[in-house]
C-alpha cells in the first residue's frame, strides 16, 4: 500500500497524507493478510514476488519488493515508513504508556507496539509475522540474529547519524528512494519558505532539554538543531564535543541565550516544567517558548521534521 506522493508539498503534506493513508489502511485491513497458513517467516502472497538487495549496517539482505508487514524499532524508521505510506504493523516506542506518537496522525494510531525502543519484544514482533524488520545496530545489535530468523532484517548504524541518511536507508529497504527524495525535497522547500517569510538569516536559536536541573543544549547535528538551521536560524557557537548535544550546569544557564530559546517539555501548558534556572533569569530569555518534546526530540523523520517546521512557523509568527 504505497502512496502516490507526487502532489504532496510543503504545508499540505500532512493533510495530503492522512486521507489516502487512512483509506489505504482501511482497505488492507479488510482484504489483506489471508492468514498465512503456516510458518512465521513466510511472506504473504503478493503480486511482486521479487526481492532487492539492501546494503546496511549488518551486511546485505534480500528484501521483498512489495513489503506489506513492516516492524520498526526506531522512531526515525516509524516516521519514515508512515511518511512513505507503508504503515508498519508494529513499532517499538519510547513510552509504552503513550504509544505511537500522536503527531503521526490517525493512520499511525492503530500500529501495534512491540515493546520499547531500547528493549523491543521478540515475541510480539514474531507474533505480527512481519516481512521486514527495521532496527538499529547501536541499540539492537544483540537481537539481530533472532530478528533475522523472523524476517529479513535491515539495520541502520546509529540513531546519532544525520537523520536524512537514515531516512534514505529506510527508503532503500522499502524500495522507494524516489518517495524519500520527494519527502526530503518538500522538507527543504518548507525550510526555505520559513527562512524567507521571517527573514531568519542572522537570528540565533537554541533548543534546550531540561533534565534534573542539568540543561541539555542541542547542537547543529541533532534533529531539532538541524531543523532549526534548515529554517535559516543559527545555533550559537560552542564546543559541541563532537556530539549532538552538550549538558551544562544550571550555573551556566546564560550560555543558552539566543534570539529564540525553545525549551522542551512533555506538556507545553505546564509552566513548572521550565527549569528554575531559566525562570529565575527570565529577563535574559525574552524569546522563550515551551515546545512539545514528542516531536521536537523524538519526531525524527520527514513527518516529524515537517511538524517541527510548522511549530517554528507558528512561533516565529507569534514573535513578529
Amino acid at each position: 500500500m504505497r502512496l502516490p506522493s507526487s502532489s504532496l508539498r510543503s504545508r499540505g503534506l500532512l493533510a495530503g497524507l492522512a486521507l489516502p493513508v487512512v483509506v489505504a489502511f482501511a482497505l488492507t485491513g479488510c482484504t489483506a493478510t489471508p492468514s498465512s497458513s503456516s510458518g512465521a517467516s513466510e511472506t504473504p502472497s503478493t503480486a511482486d514476488t521479487g526481492t532487492h538487495l539492501v546494503e546496511h549496517a549488518r551486511g546485505e539482505t534480500e528484501v521483498p519488493n512489495d513489503v506489506q508487514r513492516v516492524v520498526v524499532l526506531e522512531p526515525v524508521q516509524l516516521d519514515t515508513t508512515v511518511a512513505l505510506g507503508v504503515i508498519p504493523v508494529g513499532a517499538a516506542v519510547l513510552n509504552e504508556a503513550a504509544g505511537v506518537p500522536a503527531y503521526l496522525g490517525d493512520a499511525a494510531a492503530g500500529i501495534a507496539t512491540v515493546g520499547t525502543v531500547p528493549e523491543p519484544s521478540i515475541e510480539k514482533i514474531a507474533a505480527l509475522k512481519p516481512d521486514l524488520i527495521l532496527g538499529t545496530e547501536s541499540r539492537h545489535s544483540a537481537l539481530y540474529d533472532q530478528l533475522s530468523s523472523i524476517a529479513p532484517t535491515v539495520f541502520m548504524a546509529t540513531q546519532t547519524d544525520p537523520w536524512t541518511d537514515n531516512v534514505a536507508l529506510v527508503a532503500r529497504a522499502l524500495g522507494d528512494e524516489a518517495g524519500a527524495d520527494k519527502l526530503l525535497a518538500a522538507y527543504d522547500d518548507r525550510c526555505a519558505e520559513i527562512a524567507e517569510t521571517y527573514d531568519t538569516a542572522g537570528m540565533t536559536a537554541q533548543f534546550v532539554r531540561p533534565r534534573d536541573g542539568i540543561l541539555t543544549l542541542y547542537g547543529p547535528t541533532s534533529f531539532a538543531g538541524s531543523t532549526l538551521e534548515c529554517a535559516g536560524l543559527t545555533i550559537p557557537e560552542r564546543d559541541w564535543e563532537e556530539s549532538i548535544s552538550v549538558d551544562i550546569s544550571p550555573e551556566r544557564v546564560l550560555e543558552a541565550q539566543a534570539d529564540l530559546v525553545l525549551v522542551s517539555a512533555t506538556d507545553v501548558t505546564d509552566e513548572t516544567l521550565v527549569p528554575d534556572s531559566i525562570r529565575t533569569n527570565a529577563a535574559s530569555f525574552p524569546g522563550l517558548t515551551v515546545v512539545d518534546q514528542s516531536f521536537w526530540i523524538t519526531g525524527v523523520g520527514p513527518l516529524g521534521g515537517m511538524t517541527v517546521l510548522d511549530d517554528i512557523d507558528r512561533i516565529l509568527a507569534g514573535s513578529k
Binding site: 513510552n95 509504552e96 551544562i248 550546569s249 528554575d276 534556572s277
Partner: protein
C-alpha cells in the same frame, strides 16, 4: 579539604577531643567556603565575595544566591541528617554495615516518588520532598509494625531483617514501575543518583524542622544508647527505659533519613562511612559519635558536591555519585589502619 585527626595521646583525652572538634569545624568551614566559591561557572572568588556583600552582576547574583547558597544549605542539612541517622542505626542494630536505608527508608521514599512521577505527573524537587517524606515514614512504620507482630517487641535483628525484606519488595515495585514508564525512568534516574541541583530554599526549609527534631532526639537518646551497648539487662539496671530509647532512635532515624532522602534522593554512602570515621577517631561514646557525625556528614556531602560541580565541566556530576568515590577510599584507609570496628 577535610583532614581527619586521630587522637594519639591517651593522657590528654579531653584536649585531643577538643582538638578533634576544632579540626572538624575547620574542615566544615572550609567545605562551606569552597561550596560557595567553587562551581561550574568559573566566577572569580573576588566576584563571589563582592556578590555576597550586595554587589555583583545579575549573573553572579544568580549563581551565588540562587544556586550555591541554597545548595550549600541543603548539603549541610542532608549531610548532618544522614551522618547522625547512620550513627544511630549502627548503634541500634549493632551492625557496622547498617546504613539508614536498612529500615526501608530509601525504598519507601523512592517508591512514593516513582508513583508520584508515574501516575500523578509530579515533576519538581518540591513535589518529590513530600512524597519521599511520606514514603519513608510509612514504610518505617510498616516495618516496625510487621517486625513487632506476634506480641514480641521489635528487636534490632527482627527489624533489620524485616526492613531489608520490605525494602527489597518496594525496590522491585519501583524498578517495575520505572521500566514500564520510560519518562518516569528518566526522572527517577536523576533522583536516585542523589543530587543537590535545584534544591532551593523552597525545598530545604519545609523539611528543616524535621531534621532539627531528629537531631534533638538523637542527642537525647545518645546516653541511653551507651547503656544499651552494655546489654539490655545492664541498661535496665541503670534505670534506662530500653523500649523507649529504641522507639525514639527509630523515630529519629526515620525523620533524619526520610528528610535527607526527600531533599537529595538516596545518598547511600554518607550514613555508612561518616559514623565509622568518627568512631575510629573519637571512640565509642554515642554522644560524641552523634555530635561528630553531625559535623563530618556535611563535610563529606559538601566536599563531594564541590567535586561533582567541576568534575565534568560544563555539566555537573550528581553528588550521590561522588560521595561513594570520596567516601569509599576513606573507609578503606581507615579499615587498613585500625584492626576492629568498635561498636
Amino acid at each position: 579539604m577535610a583532614t581527619i585527626p586521630v587522637p594519639a595521646v591517651r593522657a590528654g583525652r579531653g584536649a585531643a577531643r577538643a582538638a578533634w572538634f576544632g579540626a572538624a569545624l575547620v574542615a566544615l568551614i572550609t567545605a562551606v567556603t569552597l561550596s560557595v566559591i567553587v562551581g561550574a561557572n568559573p566566577l572569580h572568588p573576588g566576584a563571589v565575595l563582592d556578590t555576597m556583600f550586595g554587589g555583583g552582576t545579575a549573573e553572579s547574583r544568580f549563581v551565588v544566591w540562587d544556586q550555591r547558597i541554597p545548595r550549600t544549605a541543603a548539603g549541610m542539612a542532608v549531610g548532618a541528617a544522614l551522618g547522625v541517622a547512620g550513627a544511630l542505626i549502627q548503634a541500634f542494630t549493632r551492625n557496622p554495615l547498617a546504613d539508614p536505608g536498612i529500615l526501608g527508608v530509601n525504598a519507601g521514599a523512592a517508591f512514593f516518588v516513582a508513583v508520584g512521577i508515574t501516575f500523578f505527573g509530579v515533576t519538581s524537587p518540591l513535589g518529590y520532598v513530600w512524597l519521599a517524606c511520606a514514603g519513608a515514614l510509612l514504610l518505617t512504620v510498616a516495618v516496625y509494625a510487621i517486625g513487632s507482630a506476634g506480641g514480641q517487641a521489635a528487636g534490632p535483628v527482627r527489624l533489620t531483617v524485616t526492613g531489608v525484606a520490605i525494602g527489597a519488595v518496594f525496590a522491585g515495585l519501583t524498578t517495575g514501575l520505572t521500566l514500564t514508564h520510560p519518562d518516569a525512568f528518566d526522572r527517577m534516574r536523576g533522583w536516585s543518583a542523589g543530587s543537590l541541583l535545584e534544591r532551593g530554599f523552597d525545598v530545604v526549609l519545609p523539611v528543616l524542622p524535621l531534621v532539627l527534631v531528629g537531631l534533638a532526639l538523637a542527642l537525647w537518646a545518645a546516653p541511653g544508647l551507651n547503656s544499651i551497648a552494655l546489654g539490655p539487662d545492664v541498661a535496665r539496671s541503670q534505670g534506662v527505659n530500653v523500649r523507649r530509647i529504641q522507639l525514639v532512635v527509630l523515630l529519629a532515624v526515620t525523620l533524619l533519613a526520610g528528610s535527607a532522602t526527600a531533599v537529595a534522593g538516596p545518598l547511600v554512602f554518607v550514613g555508612l562511612v561518616v559514623p565509622h570515621v568518627v568512631r575510629w577517631t573519637l571512640g565509642t561514646d554515642q554522644r560524641r559519635i552523634v555530635l561528630g557525625s553531625m559535623v563530618l556528614g556535611p563535610v563529606l556531602v559538601l566536599a563531594s558536591d564541590v567535586l561533582g560541580r567541576v568534575a565534568v565541566l560544563p555539566s555537573e556530576m550528581p553528588v550521590g555519585v561522588v560521595t561513594a568515590f570520596l567516601g569509599a577510599p576513606v573507609l578503606i584507609a581507615l579499615v587498613r589502619r585500625r584492626s576492629a570496628t568498635a561498636l
